[in-house]
Symmetry: C2
Subunit: 364 residues, 2 copies
């Protein structure tokens, strides 16, 4: 059993912010990066939150992250833009992209921004949800370093390439989908490795492309499987989705794509012959009143949400959820009761604190 000790959001916020400030981020950027990073911990997506802080610092140490980027629009039309993230933290580049997308949506109905030369942007859901306050539908996706084998392939050519879509409503809580285009996230394999348990068939394959239940198979040439697992269960659809994310995020922007996407671990060498610059994202915003009067849309969206939330549950289940419901409940709970941090991450953070001349309290 892993021992999880709880930290308040405020404690983790203060520490994370101080780390970004030590990296040389501006006060505004340090606060934004912290907010985006910790939105993962609040929503229960622990693999994308403060557990990754050490990884961002390492990328900065080796010069792959620029703490003071000059983020620029390099191409645009009334409804589109490409921005160059100047090797900045994806945590701040992606919100900037969403701001540009929303500004364009205000002018012409929708805005679409493809981003190059960026880095890991935290959870896609944060960026998509920015649109909700403006009565817009928000869309966010990103490519990532290759861990996933296409259907029928024995090679890793795609990242876990997540898609997030946030849709505003009236009285009901909004619809917020945020998911990797794989069957299981890599974080689930890492948890199984720590617990020394096997994984279900359908999550991964070995180096030759055969089914496996070995949670550490990625260290031995294995790969994650696209959503759908096997061809018979529709893996070619998950493969197509991951491809679309890669193309929209990176081929459209001029970022590096497919097997050439830059790795997150700083000790992994950059791919040779990279066809583009850095990691890519694709961010979109659609004003709901660019399609219908906002009140009409919200009335129907409330009906949609209400109908699905009150659907008859299958035997053995209590309730049917809409995308984002479980994460919203988690956020409420963790703001009250604190955020559990596993020992390994606590240790990483205390080592980081010492290195940066900051303090982080270990609990045991």
């Amino acid at each position: 059993m892993e021992s999880n000790n709880h930290y308040t959001y405020q404690t983790l916020y203060a520490f994370s912010e101080s780390v970004f400030l030590k990296m040389g981020c501006s006060a505004l950027d340090a606060a934004l990066a912290t907010k985006v990073l910790l939105s993962a911990d609040l929503r229960g997506i622990d693999s994308h939150g403060i557990a990754r802080l050490v990884g961002y610092v390492r990328l900065w140490e080796v010069g792959r992250i620029n703490a003071t980027p000059d983020i620029k629009i390099v191409h645009e039309t009334p409804s589109t833009a490409v921005i160059d993230g100047d090797r900045g933290l994806g945590l701040i580049v992606a919100p900037r992209a969403m701001e540009i997308a929303m500004e364009k949506a205000k002018q012409v109905g929708t805005g679409w921004v493809s981003v190059k030369n960026s880095n890991h942007f935290g959870i896609a859901g944060y960026h998509a949800m920015m649109a909700l306050e403006q009565e817009m539908i928000g869309i966010a996706m990103t490519n990532a370093s290759a861990l996933v084998a296409p259907t029928y392939a024995a090679e890793k050519l795609l990242g876990t390439n997540p898609i997030a879509v946030a849709v505003p409503a009236g009285e009901e809580a909004p619809f917020v989908a945020d998911f990797a285009t794989t069957t299981a996230a890599n974080g689930k394999l890492e948890i199984a490795q720590r617990k020394n348990t096997s994984i279900p068939f359908g999550w991964a394959q070995d180096a030759a492309g055969n089914p496996t239940q070995d949670a550490s198979i990625l260290k031995n040439g294995g790969a994650l499987l696209p959503l759908g697992s096997e061809k018979e269960q529709g893996s070619h659809k998950g493969y197509a989705l991951g491809s679309i994310v890669d193309i929209f995020s990176a081929v459209l922007s001029g970022a590096s794509f497919g097997p050439w996407a830059p790795p997150f671990p700083a000790y992994v060498p950059m791919p040779e012959n990279m066809p583009g610059e850095g990691l890519g994202h694709f961010i979109g915003a659609m004003r709901i009143d660019a399609f219908r009067p906002a009140a009409d849309f919200k009335y129907n969206m409330d009906l949609w949400l209400n109908r699905f939330r009150n659907a008859t549950a299958a035997s053995g289940h209590e309730k049917v959820y809409v995308a984002g419901d479980i994460e919203r409940a988690m956020e409420y709970e963790r703001l009250q009761n604190g955020i559990p941090i596993v020992q390994a991450v606590q240790h990483d953070l205390s080592v980081l604190a010492e290195k940066m001349n900051l303090s982080f309290e270990l609990k045991s």
Copy 2:
């Protein structure tokens, strides 16, 4: 073994066109509807092609399809529109929507059209591929009558809600994804029923929400499963995707959504208390040069396609395909050798021919 007899594309085209003319479609509309319908047969998606012609006629007979619709823009901004399909054939309403989307993309970079009051639009891929000739990325999706249970639900609340995305390239053949957001298409269950075989676990559930291998379970209160099959294999992601298609196609346009989407079989009564008008589609077009110079995009897209098409195959497989490759090869083959039509469909078509005072040659 089912006996399949082959018909030339020209034979099926002439017959289908004559049926649409008998329904009262204009010459232009009859030709377009035929071209869209038969694109399914050519690409090997037999469930969406001429096999459905009888179904369209029945919908017209009961007044649910208007053969001479007045398709109108009812709301618009520079990058968006909602169109009212006036109960027209989706086969002609959706291409109109794509034309409007492309016109807007020419003006402001992208165009996004949500459609209400339409009907079944054939294969999503046809509409997405229209954008390729204009050096645009094409996107098409549609909602459909409810056959799919959300994760943890014992009710059918979503259709098979397909998504198509077509991406142009330079020298390489384009990327064309076109897939239902379910694990398996309903057509695969129908084939298993005709052959009297069972279906794999993960395709469907029974009325209580339990796993089943019964191919005829939908007749007994069962449901198709979202892409991912079960929660552990990511079915909540397929459920989210199907939801996004429903919201973009129908809540955004004012069409009927979720369990209230109109049924395709004319003998199924319309749902009570429908919240919107007809079926909905969502169509998008993005000019590639709204993001980068077209030549740069094409150069990188060719590299992407080439890398994936030449990936190392898994053991037991010869080749890795990119989305659309198998359908493109099928189209080439069927244009040469004809289109196989199963006996049941031949019979339906000959009955239809007799009723409409046309001729259709039965083969046996």
